[in-house]
């Protein structure tokens, strides 16, 4: 303990950092836990309510937690906290077990040096504090040493409050140096606060996520971070914020680009969920008025491309997308100098990676009509994939012609939604208007899988629809007690021969289909009819339903489209 005394400030700093990093991760949705869920309206209100808690109320909230009583008392005190009630019911049975160790142990171990500190450095202690300490001591004799120490720790805090407000107008051309300065501002203030035992309040002007999806003007909401926060949750929130700034600083200094996924994996326990990182990054970018790229953070590359083309990157490298067996990750649009398409005149956008890989590995695309370029967004496409598709849409091939665009998606509501996303742009970017033109491929055509394709290609093996049912019947099940028109069908169960490999529509699929119908019923005729058929027939199918017919299917469909046989 005496050795600890030698460098008090450093010790305190490490203790504080420990407080953030050794938190017990709460098994809860991280975004809700941090108050950064989508409905920011309520959370913003919570945040402000946290700010106005004064010091005395703050003590009322925290002191009972540090008594050596059982969890019952903690449960009594929790409802007085404005933030806890929403998460109280699920954790109630377990909270005594997780709150007590996680709160008491750090306070016991970390605050022990406090008494020497307060006596040895009387300049920072107000004259009133020893008396307060005595009175509380006499009033509540059951307080153990650790809790008393913690009280001293809290009461010794000065009144100084440093407030940092980030509210910068949008300006995408700010240099990284400027971002570094803003970050250092926070670190300096934080160290000052630790030193003076004051309070740090950081206000970020974020954009309410709800307004991104509607057509209205973006609505600003304030995200407030307080250190030291009145409850553990605030401290973890602040810790996540500081850790992220640290990583951004590191990325800028080393001139590296981190993906949001990288950042999450740097400290899974602290961030809790990918959503927390995503929201924090968005908030910081919005508050500083810079694009995400200026923070040296990107989304992970997701899309794949394979085909007869070269991508010239801004750094001078050339990506040849013709490599057999694997696709090439689609780079961010800012990294692309230009794209050179050779003699392909078709682009086939594929929903699923598995299908993309099958086609790329076999090298069959070289024999398909139009020598298609395959683009795969792995489900719902990210921005880079859509921008790339749009770029191809505006690019001519060697023969000086624009390309034809087709889309191969699952026959289910999500597949059709992905098709409309490529074709029209997503709802989110539709709202902000500016991105809409850059990311859509309006000429995109829905190649399949369609309702009629399932009939045509997925009937029982070796026939084209007019199968005799006899082959597909097997024993068990329905007893035919009456007429024996075909005596061998006695005591048979009938498995439906055509079409095979279908899946039933779930209630979720139905709800999705109906909401898409509500959205699109008077705009797009072609896919709404498919949605109704999905609902009525009650079966969906994946692209894989085509099985080994896939190549024949693409050959016939793409060929048919090219000579104008398309229906």
């Amino acid at each position: 303990m005496s050795s600890n005394l030698e460098d008090l400030d450093d010790l305190e700093l490490s203790n504080v950092i420990d407080l953030y990093q050794n938190q017990t991760p709460i098994k809860d949705d991280g975004s809700e836990y941090f108050g950064w869920s989508d409905d920011d309206g309520t959370n913003a209100a919570e945040d402000t309510s946290v700010c106005i808690i004064d010091e005395s109320q703050f003590l009322d909230l925290t002191t009972p937690i540090f008594t050596s009583t059982t969890g019952i008392k903690i449960q009594d005190t929790l409802p007085t906290n404005t933030q806890i009630p929403e998460i109280l019911p699920p954790i109630q049975p377990a909270d005594s077990s997780f709150l007590l160790p996680s709160l008491q142990l750090p306070s016991t171990t970390q605050n022990l040096p406090e008494i020497p500190h307060s006596t040895a450095a009387p300049t920072t202690v107000t004259s009133a504090s020893p008396t307060t300490d005595l009175t509380t001591n006499s009033q509540e004799p059951e307080l153990d040493l650790a809790s008393r120490l913690h009280k001293v720790f809290l009461e010794n805090r000065g009144d100084e409050t440093i407030t940092i407000i980030w509210e910068e107008p949008d300006n995408s051309s700010r240099p990284s140096r400027w971002v570094l300065e803003k970050i250092d501002e926070v670190f300096t203030a934080w160290l000052d606060v630790i030193d003076s035992k004051g309070k740090l309040v950081i206000k970020l002007r974020g954009c309410e996520r709800r307004t991104l999806r509607s057509r209205s003007q973006p609505k600003w909401v304030w995200k407030t971070l307080v250190y030291p926060g009145p409850c553990q949750r605030d401290n973890q929130k602040f810790g996540a914020f500081v850790r992220l700034l640290e990583l951004v600083r590191e990325a800028i200094k080393l001139d590296k680009i981190y993906t949001k996924r990288d950042i999450y994996y740097k400290d899974v326990a602290l961030f809790g969920s990918q959503r927390t990182v995503d929201n924090l990054v968005d908030d910081i970018a919005s508050a500083l008025g810079v694009p995400r790229r200026s923070l040296h953070i990107t989304a992970a590359a997701k899309g794949l491309v394979c085909g007869d083309l070269n991508i010239f990157k801004t750094d001078g490298s050339i990506i040849n997308c013709c490599i057999e067996g694997e696709g090439v990750l689609i780079p961010s649009s800012t990294d692309i100098e230009k794209v050179e398409i050779k003699d392909s005149d078709t682009v086939l956008i594929i929903e699923k990676e598995a299908i993309f890989r099958t086609l790329a590995e076999s090298g069959d695309w070289k024999r398909l009509p139009g020598r298609p370029i395959f683009v795969c967004g792995k489900g719902y496409p990210d921005i880079a994939t859509r921008e790339f598709a749009h770029y191809l849409y505006l690019t001519k091939n060697l023969a000086g012609q624009y390309l034809d665009f087709y889309c191969l998606v699952d026959y289910d509501p999500h597949g059709l939604d992905i098709f409309t996303m490529y074709k029209n742009g997503s709802l989110i970017s539709r709202a902000s208007g500016t991105f809409y033109e850059q990311m859509a491929v309006p000429a995109l055509r829905h190649l399949g899988v369609k309702f009629c394709d399932i009939l045509e290609y997925c009937s029982a093996e070796g026939n084209d629809g007019s199968a005799s049912s006899g082959q597909n019947m097997e024993d068990t099940g329905i007893v035919s007690t009456g007429n024996e028109q075909e005596p061998r069908n006695k005591r048979v169960r009938y498995t439906s021969s055509p079409p095979q490999g279908l899946l039933p529509m779930t209630l979720h699929d139905r709800a999705k289909a109906v909401s898409m119908l509500q959205r699109d019923h008077n705009t797009a005729v072609e896919h709404t009819d498919d949605l109704r058929k999905l609902l009525f027939v009650g079966y969906k199918a994946e692209i894989q339903v085509l099985g080994d017919q896939l190549f024949r299917y693409l050959d016939e469909k793409l060929g048919g489209q090219r000579i104008g046989l398309a229906s």
Binding site: S466, I478, Q485, V514, L517, H521, L535, G538
Partner: protein, 310 residues
């Protein structure tokens, strides 16, 4: 023995999209599709002209229509989950049932012979009976099944029995007088697309993705016999007025007529392989049993004179 049928009329462009719903009275042939309108073609007139259109019936399209035997009332169910009631005498809308329970959206519907009772089956397997003469419609019965999507329902002609068919192959018969389940018919494993009581109310025809038309005795719950011959999902089954014949339509575009006397398929219709979503006999006017089917088009069939009519 077989029947001979001729295509009397095909109306290709009746609707912009596939036609899912069909209801036939002696005056009108009602059809519903992916478009928002319900169209009424004349049943009697050999040219089957379009006589009326219910505009803005269902914004997202209509998937089921049921008519009363008296021809005075029809109900239609739309993709958005609501049910509308139509007065066929004055050709006007006459109310709607919007199910308050969101998970329990209505899917399948049926009407009693006089049109006063409506049977609905919903997404969550609830089977309800409504009194449509009251305004707003009064719920009379609420049967709970196993929370499996209800694909089809039917009421017997006297209104005493109700039947429902579910996505998992479950078929239930309810006694509406006691409010109890009479039978749970087992043995079918695939989605039940249609259930239909015979005109006498003694038999229940069941069809679905198992490609067989199963005939059950309503009172014993036993499967009496079945018809085999379809090679794809069977979407609808309907009885002729006398109960002598059954008409079934399937996903591969085939429409079959079955004789209950000889227990054989007497006719197979359909050249295209486009799905036929519903088929129905027309109310009998002459010697033959005429038909109408819907799928991509509305097609009327006439029984060739001189052929055996049993």
């Amino acid at each position: 023995m077989s029947k001979q049928y001729l295509t009397a009329l095909t109306i290709d462009n009746a609707h912009e999209s596939s036609i899912y719903a069909l209801g036939v009275t002696s005056d009108y042939t009602l059809t519903g599709s992916g478009s928002s309108v319900i169209k009424l073609h004349s049943t009697k007139d050999a040219a089957h002209p379009l006589v009326h259109t219910f505009t803005d019936a269902h914004k997202l399209g209509c998937h089921h229509i049921a008519v009363s035997r008296t021809g005075k009332r029809a109900v239609s169910a739309g993709f958005e989950g609501s049910l509308k009631i139509w007065d066929l005498e004055n050709l006007e809308a006459n109310g709607e049932i919007a199910d308050v329970n969101k998970d329990g959206q209505i899917w399948a519907i049926a009407l009693s012979a006089d049109g006063s009772r409506c049977l609905t089956g919903s997404h969550n397997g609830r089977i309800r009976i409504w009194d449509l003469d009251k305004d707003p419609s009064l719920q009379l019965r609420d049967y709970e099944t196993k929370n499996i999507f209800t694909l089809c329902v039917d009421l017997s002609a006297d209104g005493k029995l109700a039947a429902s068919g579910h996505e998992n192959g479950g078929v239930y018969i309810f006694n509406n007088e006691t409010g109890r389940m009479l039978h749970s018919l087992t043995g079918l494993m695939k989605p039940i697309r249609d259930v239909s009581f015979s005109p006498s109310g003694k038999l229940l025809a069941v069809c679905g993705d198992f490609q067989v038309i199963a005939i059950y005795d309503v009172h014993s719950g036993e499967q009496v016999f079945n018809f085999t011959g379809h090679t794809s999902w069977v979407f609808s089954v309907g009885w002729s007025e006398t109960g002598q014949f059954l008409v079934t339509s399937s996903f591969d575009g085939k429409t079959k007529i079955w004789s209950m006397d000889s227990r054989t398929c007497v006719t197979t219709l359909g050249e295209s392989n486009q799905p036929i979503f519903r088929a129905s006999f027309l109310p009998k006017t002459g010697a033959g049993e005429n038909l109408v089917t819907v799928g991509t088009a509305i097609t009327y069939y006439r029984e060739a004179s001189g052929a055996g009519t049993n």
